[in-house]
Amino acid sequence: MTRVFGAAPGLVRASLTVERGDLLLVRGPNGAGKSTLLRVIGTALAPTYGSGAVLGFDLALERDEIRRRTELLGHRTRLYEDLTAAENLRFACAMHGVALSAVPAALARVGLADVAKERVSGFSQGMRQRVALARALLRRPELLLLDEPYAGLDAEAKEIVDAAIAEALADGRTVVLATHDLQRGGTAARTIVMDQGRIVG
Amino acid sequence: MKRGRVVIVLAIVTGTLIWVATKGLSGNLIYYQTPTEVLHAGSSIVGERTRVGGYVVPGSVQASGAIVRFVVTDGTTRLSVINTGAVPALFSDGRGVVLEGTYGADGVFHSDTLLVKHNGLYTPPAPGVTPSSADLSGGG
């Protein structure tokens, strides 16, 4: 169960509860505070006020426990330009304590097996997002936070995202998806709408 | 933050500071050399820019224009000095001074900067004496 209350820059007030194993859809116009909400849940941003528990762990005190179990896929891909796709993933493995053998499979899943040994600096934005997605697939996080994962992706890649969401839900893991894309997230157990830093519906 | 780590770091930092502080007291490196050290070093430091510290030998001061000649001592050795730089108001017989300049082949120290080392002694003037040597009106 995930439960957040509080405010942060760009997030006026939010109070939210998600059941384990559900898909929560977050909608709202640009600048509504969707990213901030996801970043607060993912411990990338500390709330200015307020408190919360993610997967039963305190948002302020047990961040490492949350981080071990959560994957936040944000706007920025967090890749190193001068490393190859495979090297970027291997570094993520080292940081998260995942076996290096997971790398080839993850890259194959996003269709980048051929360019694994090429540097990210030569990649298009779409390819970079696929690498970031592959990094998210290295682990099987209990909570998957996806912030506009479809933006800039082609139809094939969008299918990969959908498949990843479906797989996580089938495993009984929780997914929070923030997206504009009205065709996506049809299976959501719950939808919230945000506006001007508040949850309005 | 890990409690054990805090303890270890505290121990390292205090240990290090104590070690350096006690080591520093032996002080093998000083601001200035003494006349004995200068004469001892002799020709090896001729022409090299150094600092010399010592007390002005009473009665040795001779001023001629901007140039002041005097002798400094550390109690054992005397060293003749020719100073061409500015002379502070507090300069007088028996005073501690630090000189910057070069030791010449002529055995005289040629200084261009004369600093008076204040002894940290503050006393009222003797009765009937008006001290004016370093009055603020001149020094700012």
Binding site: R67, R78, D82 | M1, V9, W19, V20
Partner: protein, 224 residues
């Protein structure tokens, strides 16, 4: 994974990026070279003056190189938000400090090799008199500079960071390294290496304080 393993992984990643980006070779070294030539020109052709100031110039070049390298070490973390990736990884945050410190130190040592040769060529610094003391001074000084740079380099990635913040913090804090490094180098090159002991000790003390305190407090700088 342990603190050591994480630190090594971060250092290896940073060094790989540095080798590929050739920033140290392409920008920092030319900068240090220009600095030394400019010093030489500004001081005039007097050989004794140049030889006397050489240890100071050597360490100034190293100090500025350390600021540039520390800045660079965090620059590639900021380009696409990678620093957030390090933040969100369930690692001991001290590993970032140590790993980056190792990477900065290795780069600096490589740079110093070139800087020392340049200084010796340009300013007539005699390296062969007491090479061990010289190497020890450079090595110990580098650890201290890398620790300060690795600790505060992360601030240069702040959204509102100004270019001047890192040097403004690093230069005063690194004064002990500058003084002790210059004195030890001067003694080593003047054939009085025996007297350099306390300066090397001071460098070691600086390293111990900054590495240990940095390990303790770095998390506060990185943590959101």
């Amino acid at each position: 994974m342990t603190l050591v393993g994480q630190s090594v992984a971060i250092a290896a990643k940073d060094l790989r990026i540095e080798v590929r980006g050739r920033y140290a070779l392409g920008s920092v070294l030319p900068f240090a070279g220009t600095l030394l030539v400019a010093f030489g020109l500004s001081l005039g052709p007097g050989r004794t003056l140049l030889a006397e100031t050489a240890p100071g110039l050597l360490w100034l070049a190293v100090l500025f190189a350390s600021v540039l390298s520390s800045r660079r070490a965090y620059e590639h973390e900021g380009e696409d938000g990678a620093l957030e990736g390090l933040l969100l990884a369930p690692i001991d945050k001290a590993a970032v400090f140590i790993g980056k410190g190792i990477a900065i130190a290795v780069q600096l040592l490589a740079l110093e090799l070139a800087i020392v040769l340049l200084v010796s060529g340009l300013f007539d610094l005699s390296l062969a008199v007491a090479p061990l003391t010289l190497v020890a001074a450079l090595f110990l000084g580098t650890i201290g500079l890398a620790a300060v740079g690795s600790l505060f380099g992360v601030l240069a990635e702040a959204p509102r960071a100004r270019e001047a913040v890192l040097p403004l913090l690093v230069l005063p804090l690194a004064t002990p390294v500058l003084i002790a490094g210059v004195r030890a180098t001067a003694l080593a090159t003047a054939g009085r290496a025996g007297e350099a002991g306390s300066w090397l000790g001071l460098l070691l003390a600086f390293d111990l304080v900054f590495v240990s305190v940095g390990t303790l407090v770095f998390g506060f700088l990185l943590e959101e």
